[in-house]
Amino acid sequence: MGPIMKFQVVVLAGGMSKKLFPLVSKDVPKALLPVGNRPVLSYVLELLEANNLKDLIVVVAGEDAAVRVGGWITEAYDGRLHVEVAAVSEDIGTADALRAVLHRLVVDDVLVVSGDIVSDVPLGAIAAAHRRKRAVLTAMLCSSPSASTAEAISSTGKDKAKKPSPIDIVGLDTSHQHLLFLASGTQVDKDVKIRRSLIRVVDQMEIHMDLMDAHLYAFNRAILQEVLELCQGIKSIKQDLVPYLVRSQSKFGAIASGDTQTEAVGKTPNKDDSGQPQTPMQDIVPLPQHILPGVLHPASLELTCCVYIASEGKYCSRVNSIQTYGDINRDVAGELVFLTGYTVSNQNNVIHPTAEIGSKTTVGPQCMVGDGSKLGDKCSVKKSIVGRHCRIGSNVKIINSVVMNHVTVEDGCLIQGSVICSNVHLQERANLKDCQVGAGYIITANSEHKAEALSKREKS
């Protein structure tokens, strides 16, 4: 019996992420970045495992990273999952990565999952929605972090110098089932241009700014292959492939099946950001109809792009920026602790039994302390995660922070809203606020840093 329900899974684990600098390094590819003391990839793998999807293809950018990820997977999931790790060269887009494993895809549909998703959505629902609509593409959308957070991001001026913009702009039909438009917020400069022909066909279109593309897609395999082979210009799934498919809806099919279920799409043709892949896509030959499934009835000839909107109660987030990394860590330590599989103590925190905690040290709720870590006396840990085998002296305050493995923190340090990577050494009375400290960095005693990204330059 082949893959279950004729779905194959491709996990795009990525390699190094520039956005996550300096947290990600050669030693720690993005997939292995600890979230709640577990590599972020483990959340995806466990989600897949929980959904009984055990044959996976994990695509990692970079040979080294692939080796590391592969090593970790075999160690952690030996016998539970059947994982093939494929390495692709670094600096290629997600669509290219997908193209690299295209030949391994054989069954009807492909589930493409980004390796940095922390979520508990039922994958079956997405797959079911995909099948139900016989869609070419089904994208999962989740509600994006609230507007206030978005404001906060931009106001900190960390990664978006521009004015506050929504993460994604999503156009849906009134039944909230069909995807009519998708653009990432950063791509859209001023206006969203939508073809009038589209509106004419669909009557109504809702533009959502509160939804976010979760980078979890179901593709029809045949069409995916066709498209990727025909248009080598498609580099990225999100920026090229999905918009292309969404636009293609109007070219083929668009047969009115119901009252509101008509679909057809046009899109802003002059996007400066992604103009470069635009050109090769102009001369793409129309998809041959014979590859479409279920040709018997004319109504089935639609080429539809659908969405699955994660229900309110479900969590879905991606580790794709420093901000989200911190958020997700907090969430994982807090209300999402069930995702990690750790048992929660009475104080609503997770402290590994082998961790040693000194006298008068308090570990607040929604905290995690990994195994083998030692906390000195009179420490205070609030809303933070402390990794494995950390040595933390006395009188240390860790608030709202993530401290990875093998970190040494000497007495009297104050860590606030920061991310401290593995093997970092904080000397006495160092004071960090909103900082990211790369692996192996040494912070000198009495130093004070605010909103800085610190990493060892010389090594890289």
């Binding site: 279950i4 009984n52 079956g124 079911a128 009115a256 018997l296 009835h297």
Partner: protein, 691 residues
């Protein structure tokens, strides 16, 4: 006690005429009891394959509307005749004609009587009818006599009866095996009971005797039958034996599908509570005085009896069924009392539970394609009889394509079981339609009739071909033919009215338009599904001249309409048209205003069941759909209705249009009056099914 009930079951339409009954369905039926009886033995003797004879009878019929002497559907009674001498064997072909005529005679004799009494039938047409009937019957008789001089003349009615009775039974078997649907016809009849069996026997004689035949009398008749059989046995035995084996097989296979149960319920469904009693009552009578061999076959027979259709007001059964089902189903509250026997689940709970099981590995888990189709049924993404049927068949095709026989199992049995489990999965998604039931039966028959020697690959290949052929012939070509026939009925200047959205009607309208006919279309729509809008838009897209209105305005909209074209989910053997709710209303209005009503229906949707009302078998839609008005958020007076104990919201999906509102049924075989449905069922069904 039981006797009376059984008898009533047969005649019952009289009683039920008050409501939604179809007195008119009897209109066109022959009123000559005797000749058919005499005619019956012909085939027995002649032993000629029926298909040769029948088309001759049928084809002229198709052209004329009401006056055709087509046999009346009174399956229960006629089958019952067949029931008692279960084991007897008779050549296959002989069955049908005799059977048919027999049936017609009974029904007509009783029913014309009824009509007279109630005065429900227009007298002139009645007279007409009887005239033509008489003549045709006479013709038939003649023919029969020619072929069969000795017997029919010599035998008294009762002896003829017995001979006749003997014949059908064996044939019954053969018929069943050959055409899966035969079972359905026969089964409920078996369960009806001995009284009913006695009934037809008495039939040709004056009425009063009917249900008063005593046990002794019946036994005597049986003995006579047996004697008659013994003579005929020589040839027939082996055939019957084979047939029997097959029957058992087939029956087993088809039983679990509750669809079949549902479909196979004819009139008894109305009396469903009585049925078990009846059948149990019958056992001692029959089996006590039968030989052991007969007993065995009697058991076989009993296997034919489908378990009564799942009644959803039976809590135990429902609980049991739930445990087996893949979908979590929550019973809806506030179900309408009269419709409690129909499945009604809380809307919105099924889909998530089904979705969450998408990737689960489970022996119950259906094939991906079937799962997909189930999902689409559940979300109403595939609606419409043909679309659903095609989708299901395509899914089964995929499944068969991927199928490989497990070790130590035979393809025939395992695949049948598999199909059964898939069908029950589909039923949990949405109750299957009659047309789908027929398709499933067809498929199962094909599987059951696969020779043992065929390799798996060949078997799969042939099944896939069969499915393709079914879709092509029974649906695609049939639709084309229907369009061809129907278009001839559209003339310039016509105003055509249709209700809802039927794909065949749409094809007809479009085709007629393409042929350059000048006509107008009135699309009548009804809440809550407003399917007519889709049709309207497509018609407008093609440039047709349309009027759109809701069913409330039917009486007005009907004025000036020259023809009504309607689709159907099924046409039942008494001519009742089972279709999207609202159809009956439209047909009635049309009838009242003298507008001809054409029902467009492929013959694969025909069913032997007889249904007199829309209650016993129907489908309940989501009641919330009625409560909410699309696009009117301000209409909220019924919000939270489920919490009120005093309110029941009923959203019926189908209704039954009595045959007398129907002028004509347009099938791929031609245009026939509703009274001819049983003929088509009987004659055309089996040909492709047997092959």
């Amino acid at each position: 006690m039981e006797t009376r009930r059984g008898a009533r079951m047969v005649i019952d339409p009289k009683v039920r005429q008050v409501g939604f009954v179809t007195p008119g369905s009897e209109l066109g039926r022959p009123a000559a009891p005797e000749p058919p009886g005499a005619a019956a033995p012909v085939p027995v003797v002649a032993n000629s394959p029926s298909p040769v004879i029948i088309p001759l009878l049928l084809i002229p019929d198709t052209s004329s509307l009401r006056t055709t002497p087509l046999p009346v559907p009174s399956p229960p009674s006629r089958r019952v005749v067949a029931a008692p001498p279960a084991d007897d064997s008779m050549p296959l072909g002989s069955y049908n004609p005799s059977d048919a005529i027999l049936g017609s005679s009974q029904g007509s004799s009783e029913r014309t009587g009824n009509n007279d009494k109630h005065g429900s039938a227009p007298t002139d047409s009645l007279a007409d009818m009887s005239l033509s009937n008489a003549s045709t019957l006479a013709i038939r008789l003649e023919g029969l006599n020619v072929t069969n001089d000795g017997i029919s003349n010599v035998l008294s009615t009762s002896t003829v009866r017995s001979a006749v009775a003997a014949a059908p039974t064996s044939v019954e078997h053969a018929f069943q095996t050959s055409s899966g649907q035969g079972i359905i016809g026969s089964v409920p009849a078996v369960s009806v009971d001995m009284a009913a069996a006695a009934n037809p026997q008495a039939d040709p004689r004056p009425m009063p005797l009917k249900d008063r035949t005593s046990k002794a009398e019946r036994r005597a008749i049986q003995e006579a039958q047996r004697a008659a059989k013994a003579a005929a046995k020589g040839v027939g035995t082996d055939i019957a034996a084979i047939a029997d084996g097959n029957v058992a097989n087939e029956v087993k296979s088809s039983k679990p599908s509750s669809q079949k149960k549902g479909l196979s319920e004819k009139k008894p469904a109305v009396f469903s509570d009585k049925k078990p009693v009846v059948s149990s009552d019958k056992k001692p009578v029959v089996s006590s005085d039968k030989k052991s061999a007969e007993k065995a076959s009697e058991k076989d027979k009993r296997k034919d009896i489908p378990a009564p259709r799942m009644q959803f007001d039976d809590e135990q059964r429902v609980a049991k069924a739930k445990r087996r089902s893949l979908i979590e189903q929550t019973e809806a509250k506030n179900r309408v009392e009269l419709f409690r026997h129909l499945p009604q689940f809380l809307h919105g709970t099924q889909l998530p539970s089904l979705e969450s099981k998408f990737f689960h590995e489970d022996p119950l888990h259906p094939h991906p394609s079937v799962f997909q189709v189930g999902l689409q049924y559940l979300t109403r993404e595939i609606v419409g009889g043909n679309a659903r049927c095609i989708a299901m068949l395509m899914a089964f095709r995929d499944m068969i394509n991927d199928y490989s026989t497990p070790m130590e199992k035979t393809l025939v049995r395992d695949l049948t079981a598999k199909i059964n489990s898939h069908v029950s999965f589909l039923i949990t998604c949405r109750p299957i339609s009659i047309s789908m039931g027929n398709a499933i039966k067809f498929l199962k028959t094909r599987i059951a009739s696969l020779p043992v020697t065929v390799s798996e690959f060949e078997a799969k290949h042939s099944l896939i071909l069969e499915i393709d052929r079914f879709i092509q012939e029974k649906i695609v070509f049939a639709d084309n033919e229907i369009v061809k026939h129907a278009v001839t009925k559209i003339r310039d200047g016509d105003v055509l009215l249709t209700h809802g959205s039927s794909c065949v009607v749409e094809m007809i309208l479009v085709r007629a338009f393409e042929l350059g006919k000048k006509f107008q279309v009135v699309v009548i729509d009804s809440r809550p599904r407003l399917e007519g809008k889709g049709l309207l838009r497509r018609l407008l897209g093609k440039g047709l001249h349309c009027t759109y209105t809701h069913i409330n305005a039917a009486s007005y909209a009907m004025q000036g309409v020259t023809r009504v074209f309607l689709g159907a989910a099924s046409v039942l053997s008494n001519g009742t048209v089972y279709s999207r709710v609202g159809t009956a209303c439209v047909a009635m209005v049309a009838h009242a205003l003298g507008v001809p009503v054409m029902i467009c229906c492929e013959t694969y949707k025909f069913h032997e069941r007889v249904q007199l009302d829309s209650i016993c078998s129907n489908e309940l839609g989501d009641p919330d759909a009625l409560v909410e008005v699309h696009g009117r958020k301000d209409v909220y007076s019924l919000r939270g209705w489920a919490d009120s104990k005093h309110l029941h919201v009923l959203n019926l999906m189908y209704d039954a249009t009595p045959a007398d509102y129907v002028s004509m049924i347009i099938t791929e075989l031609g245009m026939v009056p509703p009274t001819s449905v049983p003929v088509i069922l009987r004659e055309y069904r089996k040909v492709p099914y047997v092959m």
